[in-house]
């Protein structure tokens, strides 16, 4: 689509400058997009392994807990777990990757996961809590990484939209406008020229 500008030589010069700028911007963004994609893919592989590990750990912990919770009297279980012994705190700081503000979680865990006595509870309950404990730090790391991936994915979408806007809209538009201005200018030149010829002819006839 042609830009709505006056077909003047000034505009032409300005547009040409813009075109150079747009091309350079396009190239930069394209590079950025490639880099983002590269990182994103590496990230995905990384997260997939971690996620599998966490999921496996959690499934194990939950299925154990499921059984244990059923083999104890509900009242005993309720009492045993009513006051947790473990305190979990997550500090959030931010870090910049690829110009993005990404959060970094630092968990600080204190206290014992076993918060009950040995009467009327079972050893299997301990184990199920241990397996939750083991997977807990990884779970927080996974949360952080998935958030990063989320941000990266957003950024990729944004960058791609910009690249596409430059590549398929702005640059072709400027080019078209430049072409049309040039045509218009040469058209004007030609008409000017013919007008001059005509004037010259009239002058010579006298």
């Amino acid at each position: 689509m042609k830009l709505n500008v006056n077909p003047t030589r000034m505009e032409l010069l300005r547009l040409k400058k813009r075109l150079v700028m747009a091309r350079r911007g396009h190239k930069l963004l394209k590079d950025k997009q490639d880099e983002l994609m590269r990182r994103f893919l590496a990230f995905i592989r990384d997260i997939r392994d971690l996620r599998q590990e966490v999921e496996k750990g959690l499934t194990d912990a939950f299925s154990r807990f499921l059984f244990v919770s059923a083999t104890l009297n509900p009242q005993d279980l309720e009492e045993a777990l009513s006051v947790p012994g473990k305190k979990l705190q997550v500090d959030v700081q931010s870090e910049t990757i690829m110009n993005l503000r990404a959060p970094v979680f630092t968990p600080s865990v204190e206290g014992e996961v076993i918060c009950y006595g040995y009467g009327n509870t079972s050893g299997e309950l301990d184990i199920s809590l241990f397996s939750v404990e083991k997977v807990l730090k990884k779970l927080i790391l996974l949360a952080q990484k998935e958030k990063w991936m989320d941000l990266l994915a957003d950024e990729i979408v944004k960058t791609r939209r910009r690249v596409n806007a430059l590549e398929y809209v702005l640059i072709p538009n400027i080019e078209e406008t430049i072409r049309s201005i040039e045509m218009k200018l040469s058209e004007m030149e030609r008409s000017n020229f013919s007008r001059l010829m005509k004037v010259k002819e009239i002058v010579e006839a006298h």
Partner: protein, 335 residues
């Protein structure tokens, strides 16, 4: 004339024998484990006490859970009506008193009410215990229980960790139980001692698995078992394989062997099961007692085990766990 058995319990034993007949047999459990789903499980339970009134509740899971709750609480109140021996009744009901005390102390830590954690009232109503702990209203509490409770409270307030609450109250409970059965029939003494031993052996393996310091175990051990603290202290230093030999002359050898398995398998399921089997075997012997309180206590234990196992099967069916895995959790010699 010294005769074993207490003729006052002829009626009670008559009732218990009929009730025992209604306990689910091993074969029944094997069938229940194979149930296709929760509806099927409910159908298989329909001719047992758990199935009574199930047609009023349309949701099968809720129906089974209601049945379990009803039967479990029913067994406690049955015991309460049949047992006339105040000492034994108190001994058995300490478990509920002390559990409710744990709940009261934990409510203080959690700053909220923990209704679902309460057992039915033991020797004292829940509110009396709560008034005693929270408002120092000791009037309704027997003098000896009052003193023990006071010292527990002082100890817990020094260090109000949930673990300390449980541990202090467990120890006090067993001490009270022991002093109650001191002059009773050997059965009751053996019963309390075996409960202490099983708790201690469990604590030993669980501490060792969790790689806790030795002092932690020493603090958790309950005095009064057949094996004293110095035994566990020595055993703590030994390599794990040499333990069964140390328990050679006790009845806990099998339990200990299963405890060792936990270290290889990373699961305490078989230890839990072995402990349960040990307990059931102890209580099974009261089947020969024609007259006495023993069958009443044993019935309570069998019924509690039965409801636990049924709940486990229910949860297993709801989560489509395969029958073989479920079977691993079910002890032999049920019913």
């Amino acid at each position: 004339m010294e005769l074993r058995g207490n003729p006052d319990y002829a009626y009670a034993v008559g009732v218990i024998r009929v009730k025992e007949k209604a306990l689910l047999s091993q074969e029944r459990f094997n069938r229940l484990v194979e149930a296709k789903n929760v509806e099927d499980l409910l159908r298989l339970l329909s001719d047992t006490p758990y199935g009574e009134g199930s047609h009023e509740e349309t949701h099968p899971e809720r129906a089974i859970r209601q049945g379990l709750e009803r039967e479990f609480l029913g067994s406690i109140s049955l015991f309460s009506t049949l047992c006339h021996d105040q000492t034994i009744k108190e001994t058995v009901f300490y478990r509920y008193d002390f559990h409710n005390l744990k709940v009261i102390f934990k409510e203080r830590s959690a700053k909220g009410r923990l209704e679902p954690a309460r057992y039915p009232d033991g020797n004292y109503p829940f509110d009396v215990l709560r008034a005693a702990v929270e408002e120092n209203a000791w009037l309704d509490i027997e003098p000896d229980f009052r003193d023990t409770l006071r010292s527990c409270k002082a100890k817990i307030e020094e260090d109000p960790l949930p673990y300390v609450i449980d541990n202090t109250l467990d120890k006090t409970m067993f001490a009270m139980m022991r002093s109650r059965v001191k002059d009773a029939d050997p059965f009751f003494r053996e019963w309390v001692v075996s409960e202490i031993d099983l708790t201690n052996i469990g604590a030993f393996f669980r501490c060792r698995y969790a790689e806790r310091p030795r002092a932690y175990l020493m603090a958790a051990l309950i005095p009064g078992g057949t094996l004293d603290a110095s035994f566990y202290q020595k055993a703590w230093e030994e390599p794990i394989e040499s333990l069964p030999a140390k328990f050679q002359h006790t009845s806990y050898r099998k339990v200990v062997e299963k405890g060792i398995e936990a270290f290889e398998k990373g699961s305490f399921a078989s230890l839990d099961r072995a402990m349960l089997e040990h307990r059931l075997a102890f209580h099974r012997e009261t089947r020969n007692v024609a007259m006495g309180i023993e069958p009443l206590i044993s019935y309570l234990v069998f019924k509690e085990t039965e409801t636990k196992m049924l709940r486990m099967i229910l949860v297993g069916k709801m989560n489509r766990i395969d029958p073989e895995t479920l079977k691993e959790f079910i002890p032999n010699a049920l019913g």
